[in-house]
Symmetry: C2
Subunit: 230 residues, 2 copies
Amino acid sequence: MLKANSRVSPFVVERLTKYYMYLRMISSSTTGQWISSKEIAAALELTSSTVRQDISYLSEYKGISKRGYHINDLVSTLEAVIGISTPCSAVIIGAGNFGRALLLHQEFRKQGFVITSIFDANPQLIGTKIDDYTIQCISELSAVIQKQAITVGIVAVPAEAAQDVADKLVTAGVTGILNLSVTMLHVPEYVALVNSRIIIDLMKLSFQITSIKNNGNNILSADEGRSYGN
Amino acid sequence: MLKANSRVSPFVVERLTKYYMYLRMISSSTTGQWISSKEIAAALELTSSTVRQDISYLSEYKGISKRGYHINDLVSTLEAVIGISTPCSAVIIGAGNFGRALLLHQEFRKQGFVITSIFDANPQLIGTKIDDYTIQCISELSAVIQKQAITVGIVAVPAEAAQDVADKLVTAGVTGILNLSVTMLHVPEYVALVNSRIIIDLMKLSFQITSIKNNGNNILSADEGRSYGN
DNA sequence: TAGATTGTTAATCGATTAACAATC
DNA sequence: TAGATTGTTAATCGATTAACAATC
């Protein structure tokens, strides 16, 4: 799906996912079927060069001179490359506020992540229900992962417990981990790891606010860190 | 607090916040008072050069040859630069699962973000309670922000409504916005904006999983995107 | 003192952008 | 056909790293 032996940078990966989100968003509303690199770039505050180069990583996809990219085709190509098309099963570890919110978050299922179970270590929570889910004891984690062939673990436990949970997940055989805890997790390189820490983002916000206050303007050069992504 | 007229890149900002999180974590447990750039680098999977150069942006702080950095001093310096030391008041717009989870998330208060109110547009929700908070109607947003001198808005509404909410926040006078919706928000440059979209992160995870499956290894070069940050 | 570690300058590396021939 | 837009190569820009004199 990606050009043979091309190793893409995390920057490219991030942008490709944004193209996907953006194109899917406009594909429902827009009248035209085609979009140019220039238009995508304008919407996402990038240059058209960057957009064209990113899209050129997709080996099975070509734009057409003068017309641009066929929106629906590009969406399906990105869907395949990102792997949205094959739904994968996930479990959440940690039934705190975050874990609960994610469990109930509709968007996850839409993106192809089916959450099958939620675990916690707190005996008081085990056996209680959230929606249709019964909170299970973390001691059952490995067994459930193996029996149900779960591929993704979402780590929503306090920092102290996070590495331990990650080790259990890896041993049980997940292929990806979404880390919501504020720790650095160490996992073998054959396991995908993405860190998503809202606390870090809060601090970045705080930093920007502080520097705007002190300098009268945003210390971040140009519009970086302020656009669609950051 | 930062060296005069130095514009730091978003990369530096991100790492500075990580140094802060890491040092605060170890400051409670560690026995020694000092830490070297080499040790910080090892913990966060960076080079010591990067760490030293980042820290050198902090005008009021100097390390000491042969000893390194005084942990507590560095923590307080970073606290001041990031602006953690001055708590700021925030409101949440959107009382869906995400909004609720954030409202109840203890860590926010610890980081100096005091959430004073939560808003929603859905008439059925308005007036109902979450913990001690009563969900308010979004039509009251501007008045509340101005009366209570709120400085941060946390946007947790669906994509379609996000820009509208952001405009209201800006007009009402917030200085920072944390965007949790999957849209690109446009705000004037004197307003700090950080995007924190778990859906994008989920897709990055999906992408990595897919490429590990296809290539037998992680397509992301080296350990990038897999460490403390990404 | 000797040696470890800093702060900073210069070199390297890699991401982004400009440019342009190919083409629909 | 003329002109818009692609895919790709080469140039630029900026982030990271190496190197090292200063120093505790």
